[in-house]
């Protein structure tokens, strides 16, 4: 496609009918059209007839436009949202088993503590850590663990959720009358 801008990672949230075969429709679409999925996670929503997928895919603007349109074209897809440029929270959970020699056991625990990772299994030769966070945090953690010797790494793939609408601000508007006389007060925290 002409004049496409730089490829980057997009986090796409889709709501689908909770039926068998839907995952394969979505995965099949990516493979058939040559798009690369970086991660995909699925789970039921509050409504048991609806599942929610979070897909991370890399591509320029035109590819992502096609990805979202093609996803939407699937009959079982209810809603597609590209969260990338919206205010959202994303997290991933990793389990990582690290070599634990007598010389570095303390170091591993220090690192785990800094990243608020939990030790979920211990053996004489290893620690298994559980950590959650966004991509940057987890990459930083792995960067520190790598020289210590990572035996195995499992990741859930990213899940993402849009931040709540700022209804508080709107609700606060009628209270404008409550203007403080103090010029240093610019607003109220409630």
């Amino acid at each position: 496609m002409q004049n496409g801008n730089e490829p980057r990672k997009h986090t796409i949230a889709i709501q689908v009918e909770n039926k068998f075969g839907v995952l394969s429709r979505v995965a099949g679409l990516f493979s058939a059209r040559g798009y690369n999925i970086e991660s995909l996670s699925v789970g039921e929503t509050l409504d048991p007839t609806v599942s929610r997928m979070t897909i991370v895919v890399r591509g320029d603007e035109f590819i992502i436009e096609q990805v979202t349109k093609q996803l939407h074209k699937l009959i079982d897809v209810i809603k597609v949202t590209d969260l990338t440029d919206e205010s959202h929270v994303e997290r991933e959970l990793i389990l990582v088993r690290v070599n634990a020699e007598p010389t570095n056991r303390a170091e591993i625990l220090r690192v785990a503590d800094i990243f608020r990772a939990k030790v979920v299994d211990v053996t004489p030769a290893s620690y298994t850590l559980e950590a959650t966070g966004d991509e940057g945090k987890l990459e930083a953690l792995l960067e520190l663990l790598r020289p210590l010797g990572i035996q195995e790494l499992v990741r859930t793939g990213k899940v993402a959720i849009a931040r709540g609408p700022k209804t508080r601000v709107k609700k606060a508007e009628p209270k404008k009358a409550r203007v403080s006389d103090d010029p240093r007060v610019v607003g109220f925290a409630d």
Partner: protein
């Protein structure tokens, strides 16, 4: 009301208005055929190979505007059907394909004639279903027909395990289909329509580029009105042929790889290009960065994913072609009140003159010979003899392109060809479906000797069911389009393309109980065609043509549309074409 799954199925088909099924029985669907035995109101046409059932359903659907239905058994029957499903998907043809499946408790067990049908058809259908419970059968059928025929039409596959067909269940038949995840958008955005109307009236060099969507939406009348109103010349895609009458002075005929010189030149020089129900296929655009480089592009399509897929669009309008064209006509009339047309009047006159020049300079043309039959001549005579009124079906290859170039189409829904997938063997079975839907019309299958042989067994179906398809084989003794590419782009290194002298098509036709006629000299062409059209029942005419005739104009794949080759090129031009061969 409780009844067997098989009866629910047939009852449901009848309620959906189906009158004809193309099918072939087998183990898993026997319960359906047992009910069909004394079921009133459904005609079953027994084909000889399952893909033919799919193509016949396509022919039925394309020419009637209703959903075509085919029914085959599990495993190999379903896999045979796949080609027809992909064909229907690419050309947006509404069909519902029913396949048998092993009983639910055996699914996944590698049972006899088992295949993962829904897994296999998933990427080549608009949607598919596996019915696991008889009570779901009614609602699923409703959804299947709804999905196939609405939005951008397409094939829907329903897989039917044998036990579901046997067991009794309640017939559930919802009045309305409502799906929260599927709501196509029919009305175009009014703001965009207004923008499009403004652009069209202010354009100096506008062109309308219309495709199969105009046929699917039955929007030909609206298109004609818009053209009369705006006086914008119209080019049609392969799938769009018939959307606009070719005898009209504003018709530019087909565009693209084998399109007319004047259509490709007009599109290339256009300042506003209005695409309606077309999808900027690579066979239309050639090299995309050189396609309509100076044009502002308006794109009307029911499928949002078609918009800005290959070519960046300036005015996207998602909607049904007919509704959008109606709105566009109204918007244009509004604009005309302000007399904006005069703004571009002088420029438009020049544009018309320029197009007339292009038309004069390079019309479709071919040489004449007293000895060898020129294939283009055969098509021209078919067009003359039928006055552009026949139902025309083709195979895939040179003959298909000549049919598109030399048949003078007048009406929509009288042309079936495999445009997107390019399925050889499409001709005869599709024509069969057309003949089943239109017993009183002349159905002509313009085929190639290579293409015809991929489904010639269906002559038996034609004969046994009284489907009077007139097959005209443009017999050039081989795979002509491959010969052409090897001749022009691969420097004459002809490899694995010659067919014949076997079979003798006249004897083959006769073996199937059909009439066979042969023409070997130009003087025999018209009498042979006249005889074929006058003979009742299916006929095969073997027209032995000059095998060295190539389709021109030709845009080498990956080339720009202005790089058209207009006649058999010299060595230098062949070198250039070979070098341009970067695309597909």
């Amino acid at each position: 009301m409780r009844m067997s799954g098989a009866r629910i199925l047939l009852e449901g088909l009848k309620r959906e208005g189906v009158d004809t099924i193309f099918g072939l029985p087998g183990g898993a669907v026997l319960p359906i055929y047992d009910v069909l035995y004394d079921f009133e109101g459904l005609r079953h046409i027994l084909v000889r190979q399952e893909a033919a059932a799919g193509h016949a359903a396509e022919g039925y659907a394309r020419t009637t505007g209703r959903v075509g239905v085919c029914l085959v058994t599990s495993g190999p029957a379903a896999t045979n059907l796949v080609t027809a499903l992909q064909d229907a998907l690419m050309d947006s043809i509404p069909i519902v394909a029913l396949t048998g499946q092993v009983p639910t408790h055996l699914i996944g067990n590698d049972a006899f004639q088992e295949a993962d049908n829904v897994g296999i058809t998933r990427p080549c259908t608009k949607h598919n279903f596996l019915v696991k419970d008889g009570k779901d059968l009614g609602p699923i059928l409703r959804e299947a027909f709804h999905i196939a025929s609405t939005g951008r039409p397409g094939p829907v596959h329903v897989d039917l395990p044998k036990d579901v067909l046997v067991k009794e269940a309640e017939l559930v038949w919802p009045d309305k289909v409502q799906m929260r995840s599927y709501n196509p958008n029919y009305d175009g955005h009014p703001g965009q329509i207004k923008r499009a109307a403004r652009l069209m009236l202010r354009a100096r060099k506008p062109v309308l580029y219309v495709g199969g969507g105009v046929i699917s939406a039955d929007a030909s009348a609206e298109l004609a009105e818009l053209v009369e109103l705006t006086q914008i010349p119209v080019t049609q895609t392969l799938m769009g042929l018939g959307a606009f009458p070719m005898e009209h002075p504003l018709s530019l005929d087909m565009l693209g790889m084998h399109g007319s010189y004047y259509a490709n030149m007009a599109v290339h020089h256009a300042d506003v290009l209005v695409a309606v129900g077309a999808r900027f296929d690579d066979r239309v655009t050639g090299r995309v960065d050189a396609f309509a480089p100076n044009a502002e592009i308006v794109h009307v399509d029911i499928d949002p994913s078609s918009i800005s897929k290959n070519i960046k669009v300036d005015v996207p309008i998602v909607g049904d072609c007919r509704r959008v064209l109606r709105a566009l006509i109204a918007a244009v009339k509004d604009e005309l009140r302000e007399d904006v047309a005069s703004l571009a009047k002088e420029a438009r006159k020049q544009w018309a003159a320029q197009i007339a020049d292009w038309k004069r300079a390079h019309p479709f043309h071919f040489g004449w010979s007293d000895d060898a039959i020129k294939p283009q001549y055969v098509i021209q005579e078919i067009s003359n003899l039928t006055r552009g009124e026949a139902m025309i079906v083709t195979g895939v290859g040179q003959h298909q392109m000549w049919a598109a170039q030399y048949y003078r189409f007048k009406h929509p829904r009288r042309w079936c060809t495999s445009g997107g997938l390019g399925t050889m063997g499409y001709g005869l079975p599709t024509a069969m479906g057309v003949a089943a839907a239109w017993p009183d019309r002349l159905v002509v299958n313009i085929d190639g000797d290579g293409s015809f042989q991929m489904n010639s067994q269906e002559l038996a179906t034609c004969h046994d069911n009284g489907l009077a398809v007139k097959t005209i084989i443009i017999n050039n003794g081989g795979h002509g389009m491959v010969r052409q590419w090897q001749g022009i782009i691969y420097k004459g290194r002809f490899c694995s393309i010659d067919l014949g002298p076997s079979p003798d098509f006249v004897k083959l036709a006769e073996a199937y109980g059909c009439a066979g006629i042969r023409a070997t000299k130009p003087s025999e062409v018209v009498p042979a065609l006249e005889e074929a059209f006058a003979t009742p029942g299916p006929v095969v005419v073997d027209v032995c043509v000059d095998k060295w005739e190539y389709v021109f104009p030709m845009v080498p794949a990956g080339g720009a549309n202005t790089d058209m080759i207009l006649e058999d090129p010299g060595a230098a031009a062949k070198d250039k074409a070979a070098k341009a061969q970067t695309g597909f």
